[in-house]
């Protein structure tokens, strides 16, 4: 049993929980990407990474806004700025420090590919008009994130010896954080029952075979997927990195909570 095993009782509670989980993943990864601004390897990549960061934070903001309305919270900022690390529901993959360009690309590829499959499914099954509309809108951008990161996996994998070893290392290092994408706990199960989430275990093999074919094309090898998988972040058991990220993200807003900052 984790610290905060949320078991939604109603359809609305299930929806809020899903919105927050999706949003937290996107806010935290968007934050990591935003750290590249001004420090990218090439001007084009500075632009692209900032663009993806902006998309992801935008998606998070829209999801939070909807959750705030349903859950009677003041606004989207409430979730981003006034919760502690043990309240955040993002998977650990998204909170790891940005690393080098190969690490950033690999993480983006693994996450965007997961998002691609997930959103494709959700668009089919979600009945709530507002939620579905959001998913459709974000899906277009996810396709671009996937294309961008996949192209760079190919370039780095089949580029020089150095780039190949850097990106292979990134895949090896990140692989243990991919398990959380496919975990189903009580909250997800409740959401699946209400047609608000997809049974991710069903298409996990498809996801893996897409990763595999990309890696083969990039002359890289798939890490051993039976290895140890990190778990727990969805219910608040994060890595040590998230606390530092939030300390930075939240400090100004929390220092002067009564001020108008929008």
């Amino acid at each position: 049993m984790s610290t905060f095993d949320t078991i939604p009782q109603t359809r609305q509670e299930a929806l809020v929980e899903i919105l927050l989980r999706l949003a937290d993943d996107r806010l935290i990864l968007g934050h990591r990407l935003s750290e590249w601004a001004g420090h990218g390897p090439e001007l084009e990549e500075d632009l692209a990474l900032a663009n993806i960061a902006l998309d992801m934070i935008g998606h998070a903001s829209a999801l939070y806004e909807y959750a705030a309305k349903l859950d009677n919270k003041p606004d989207e900022d409430f979730f981003a700025y006034f919760r502690d690390d043990i309240d955040f529901k993002n998977i650990a993959l998204t909170e790891l420090p940005k690393g080098d360009f190969a690490f950033t690309i690999t993480r983006q590829f693994l996450f965007s590919l997961f998002s691609y499959f997930l959103y494709k499914e959700l668009i089919e099954i979600v009945e709530e008009e507002q939620f579905n509309g959001m998913l459709q809108k974000h899906f277009k951008e996810i396709k671009y994130h996937l294309r961008y990161s996949r192209e760079w996996v190919l370039r780095l994998g089949d580029g020089t010896n150095e780039s190949k070893s850097r990106i292979q290392n990134a895949f090896n290092e990140l692989w243990m954080y991919t398990g959380e994408m496919f975990e189903l706990d009580k909250a997800f199960e409740a959401a699946i029952e209400h047609n608000l989430y997809s049974d991710v275990t069903k298409w996990r093999p498809e996801w893996r075979s897409f990763v595999n074919s990309t890696l083969t094309e990039a002359t890289l090898t798939l890490p051993d997927y039976e290895q140890y998988m990190f778990t727990g972040a969805r219910s608040g058991r994060h890595t040590e990195h998230l606390g530092h990220l939030l300390a930075q993200m939240q400090f100004l807003r929390r220092s002067y909570p009564d001020a108008e900052w929008k």
């Binding site: 601004a37 900022d77 580029g159 020089t160 900052w261 929008k262």
Partner: protein, 312 residues
């Protein structure tokens, strides 16, 4: 060597208000001046990402975070098309970049100041982008086509940035005591460096006359600076911000605001490389460039392999 007839014909085209395009004949000196100006402008956009990027991860609301991220992204875009514009003059982006991170090429000295509080981000939008707009509105009529068009596009985005910065500063200036303090402090620190952005007085500006003769610029540094001060005084008043110049007075006769002495010693020392952030900014840019070397090499090698495949 450029012949006198070529020079005369060129001058005639300028005087007729014609636009010079990349394939047209131009004096070597005109080309060099444009390469210098355009690349400096591009470098400034890129270095400018650093002081603002400094606050992306700490922006106090999701809305402000997105606004700032979009702004920094716009700056990368400006840098990109300014470099492309400069390349129409027969130089390579790579050489231009190496010229400023390892050599002596300049960028706007305003970015050698630190962003200490979030109010600095608002003030950069209002004052720094405001000053840039005054300058770039003029450059949008520059005689060199690619530069004029780049500035036209940049101006549109900068106007948006200025509006966003000014609006948020207005909120801070009428907000809590802490916000007011941050807002006024930021204006105090950025005001004089912003006035320096227009460059030295006309009497100390060696390039000005030539640039005006060739229609690259249409106004002098002092004219642009005056225009900026005139409109900024009103904007400051409107939001209850005091500009840190006790000599600021309205001259009924000229219809202009007169202002105190600009601290030129500070300007020249920052231009020379001795500003508070010069070394750090260059170090950050060099680090990004050097750490990106393996990525650029990989992309090149990958492209070469694909070319080979196509050929075989």
């Amino acid at each position: 060597m450029d012949t006198q007839k070529q020079l005369d014909d060129f001058q005639k085209r300028i005087d007729n208000g014609e636009t010079i395009e990349p394939k047209d004949w131009m004096p070597e000196r005109y080309r060099k001046q444009l390469v210098r100006m355009m690349s400096q402008h591009a470098h400034s956009e890129i270095v400018g990402m650093l002081p603002e990027g400094n606050w992306i991860t700490r922006a106090p609301s999701l809305k402000r975070k997105m606004v700032l991220l979009a702004k920094v992204q716009d700056e990368a875009g400006h840098g990109l098309y300014l470099y492309s514009g400069t390349e129409t003059l027969g130089v390579r982006r790579k050489d231009l970049i190496e010229d400023y991170i390892y050599g002596n090429a300049k960028y706007s000295s305003i970015f050698n100041y630190p962003t200490l509080t979030y109010a600095d981000i608002c003030v950069i939008g209002w004052l720094v982008d405001g000053a840039a707009i005054v300058n770039q509105t003029m450059l949008a009529k520059s005689s060199y086509g690619p530069y004029a068009r780049a500035n036209l596009r940049i101006c549109k985005e900068e106007s948006f940035h200025k509006k966003q910065g000014y609006e948020m500063l207005a909120k801070m200036a009428s907000g809590t005591a802490e916000q007011k303090r941050m807002a006024q402090d930021a204006v105090n620190r950025w005001w004089w460096p912003t006035l320096m952005m227009f460059g030295p007085h006309d009497t100390d500006s060696p390039n000005s006359a030539e640039l005006i003769k060739w229609g690259v610029k249409t106004k002098t540094n002092d004219e642009l600076r005056q225009h900026f001060v005139d409109r900024t005084v009103m904007e400051a008043e409107a939001i209850g911000i005091t500009l840190p110049d006790p000599d600021l007075t309205y001259n009924e006769e000229t219809g202009h605001w007169e202002f105190g002495d600009i601290p030129w010693d500070e300007f020249w020392s920052v231009v020379k490389g001795d500003g508070p952030m010069n070394r750090e900014r260059m170090k950050a840019r060099r680090k990004a460039y050097e750490e990106g070397e393996w990525v650029r090499k990989a992309a090149k090698e990958y492209a070469r392999k694909r070319e080979l495949e196509k050929a075989s």
